[in-house]
């Protein structure tokens, strides 16, 4: 089971990449734990999560092939 994780803005900078793949994460809560283990530099960063481009603010199950985007506060315009 592959979950693609996309990083944007400051998180892409902190992760030093735009994208990575996680395996065997059943939901977004589990993903967050793994993210903070793999990227301790995210500790001070706030972000919201989109699963397949839909924003979610609660724990969301993940399936093979899901794309999870980590979105820091927006600053367009």
């Amino acid at each position: 089971m592959d979950i693609t994780v996309l990083f944007f803005g400051q998180l892409a900078e902190l992760a030093a990449t735009n994208e990575t793949v996680f395996q065997s994460v059943i939901d977004t809560d589990a993903l967050k734990i793994q993210l903070h283990q793999k990227y301790p530099q995210f500790a001070d960063s706030s972000f919201i999560i989109a699963v397949n481009k839909i924003l979610t603010d609660q724990n969301t199950p993940l399936f093979n092939g899901a794309t999870v985007a980590l979105l820091p506060p927006f600053s367009g315009g």
């Binding site: 996309l6 944007f8 989109a50 481009k53 979105l71 927006f74 600053s75 367009g76 315009g77």
Partner: protein, 147 residues
């Protein structure tokens, strides 16, 4: 979701004033229009901790941003009797003093054009997944946050 009508709104670099005048000129054949409202965002040379911002470098989650912009557009057209709406947002580096956002609404009457334009600007600022990196004169940077 009507994928086929999702329009691009992104432009590499600054939005040139001539793009804006061309866009205005194209509306002279739409003689049901009585009022245009235009908002332009311009990159400010803010001074932060004693250093000048010389540019903002914009990035986006393009696929999601275009879908979100499509939703915003549909919602605003459903709410207001608009004749047209045109949006451009810069990506990449835009120097201080240059235009980074162009929102253009047109209607028969002024109230509709003005209110719709303001609403679109607010939604773009709040809802579009776009990030601006403020670049200082010494090549350091910080990440912008919308108020």
């Amino acid at each position: 979701m009507a994928e086929k009508s999702v329009k691009n709104i992104f432009t590499q670099g600054a939005i040139e004033p001539v793009f804006i005048s061309d866009s205005i000129a194209k509306h002279s054949s739409k003689t049901n229009i009585g009022a245009h409202s235009i908002f332009l965002g311009q990159v400010r040379k803010d001074v932060i901790d004693g250093k000048d911002v010389v540019a903002i470098d914009y990035t986006t989650y393009e696929e999601m941003a275009l879908e979100k912009m499509h939703e915003i557009r549909e919602a605003v057209f459903a709410k207001y009797p608009l004749a047209c709406m045109h949006i451009r947002h810069s990506l990449g580096k835009v120097d201080a003093g240059k235009i980074c956002l162009f929102v253009f609404t047109s209607s028969a009457h002024r109230k509709v054009a003005i209110e719709a334009c303001e609403e679109v600007v607010e939604k773009i600022k709040a809802e579009l997944p776009v990030w601006g990196k403020e670049i200082f004169e010494d090549d350091t940077h910080q990440w912008k946050e919308n108020k």
